[in-house]
Structures are given as structure tokens and as C-alpha cells.
Symmetry: C2
Subunit: 104 residues, 2 copies
DNA sequence: AATACATATGAACAGATATTCATATGTTCA
DNA sequence: TGAACATATGAATATCTGTTCATATGTATT
């Protein structure tokens, strides 16, 4: 078996590749990264996130929806507010891996 | 100091955020992810990568340029060929962190 | 019930991005 | 030198993406 075939065999299947790319797609926008940093350690309301991120309420809400669909964030309603937080600790790990890479 | 201010202070500066998003942007396209997997362990020529990835020579070359600009891959010329490989082991780490996340 | 507040959402738009096609550049070998 | 091969590149295009604006939905308070 030649080298090319070996690499082909080791390659994740297409579905995994797409899912992986999809995950990173969530992290490739500065607004979304800021949102995730905002809610990494403690849950935050949309208006607080908006204030922290320095964007508009609408833009933040749209992006939260995207993150929600990707299951990267979870939320609970409290009165008029909705509190968001990251859905699992992998998010923090991936972000800090990335940070480690760029700060060389 | 309230919670919002604390989070704001812990937030990476904009430049870091953008660089981080930029890094993940390199990984948010299936073709680029496949290319990186192709050259994770051993260097490969453009035509071999093209064959492994199952795309066109032109598309692969364009994407290699993008990855090159982001310093995620390095290359050396050997005869008519150009052999590409990943520029550092962080790439593999980030990819496998991502894989770990999606395979839950 | 009326008002104010918090969040979500749809449409529209501008900018970014990946691919394709055609072709240029560069290298080897006869 | 000319032919064949390998890679790079520019232009064009179609698609995708993030923001904005306007407004809808939902909740609490009076």
C-alpha cells in the first residue's frame, strides 16, 4: 500500500470533516469569539453580553442563535432575561489551544 | 467592580480576538481541513494532496496559498514538485481537540 | 390593560469566500 | 530547444455570512 492510500485511509470520513469544519466555523468570527469569552465562566444575559461585546442587541441575538444551533451554548430564562452560558468545557479548551498557537 | 467589568477586563484585546478568529477561519472549510489532514504526518506534493482531497489542482493550490499566508503550512521545492507539510504541531492538537468535541 | 423592558426574528444588503476556467510560470528530460 | 509535467495565479461567478433596520414576541410592573 503506497503512502497516498495510507493517508486516505487515515483521513476522517467526509461527515466528520464537515462537522469539524462546522465547529471551527463557529469560532471564526470575532463577535462569536467575544460572546463565548463573555460566557465562559458565568452565565450572562443578552444585554450584558451585548454590552461586553460592544455590538448591537440584534447582532448578538443572531449570533447566539447560531451558537445555540451548534450546541455550543445553553440558556435559561429568568424573568425578562435569558441567561446564556457555554454548553461544555471543550469550548474553553479549544479557545485556549488556539490562543496558545497565536501567542508564539 | 461588577461582574460585567470583571469579564471585560478578562477579555483578550481585540487584536488577539481577531487573530484567534483568523486562525479558526483557516479550519472552517472542509477542503482546508482535508488538506491539513493530508500533510499532518508527512509532506506531500500538490498533486498527491489533490488526489487525496478529491478536489481540483487549482482549488487545492488556492487553498494552500491561504494556509501558507496563515503560516499553517510550510513547503519546499523538489524538482518539479512542491512538498507541503504542516508548520507546527499545534495544528494537529487543535484538530484533535475539535474532533474530540464533535465525537461525543 | 397599558407601558416599559428584554429578546428574537425576518428581510435586505454589503462584503467575503471557494470554486472554476483559462493560462502563466517554472522545471525536467529527450 | 521543445515537449511534458507540476504548480501558481488572475478573473469571474455563485454562494455564504454578518450586520442593520424594523418589528414581533414575551415578560414584569404599575
Amino acid at each position: 500500500m503506497d503512502n497516498i492510500e495510507m493517508i486516505k485511509d487515515a483521513m476522517p470520513v467526509d461527515e466528520e470533516i464537515y462537522d469539524l469544519a462546522e465547529l471551527f466555523k463557529m469560532l471564526c468570527d470575532a463577535t462569536r469569539v467575544k460572546i463565548l469569552y463573555s460566557i465562559l465562566d458565568s452565565e450572562m444575559s443578552v444585554s450584558d453580553i451585548t454590552e461586553i461585546v460592544g455590538s448591537t442587541q440584534s447582532a448578538v441575538s443572531h449570533q447566539l442563535r447560531v451558537l445555540k444551533q451548534a450546541r455550543l451554548v445553553k440558556y435559561r430564562k429568568v424573568g425578562k432575561s435569558v441567561l446564556y452560558s457555554v454548553s461544555d468545557e471543550h469550548v474553553a479548551t479549544i479557545l485556549s489551544m488556539g490562543m496558545e498557537h497565536i501567542s508564539e
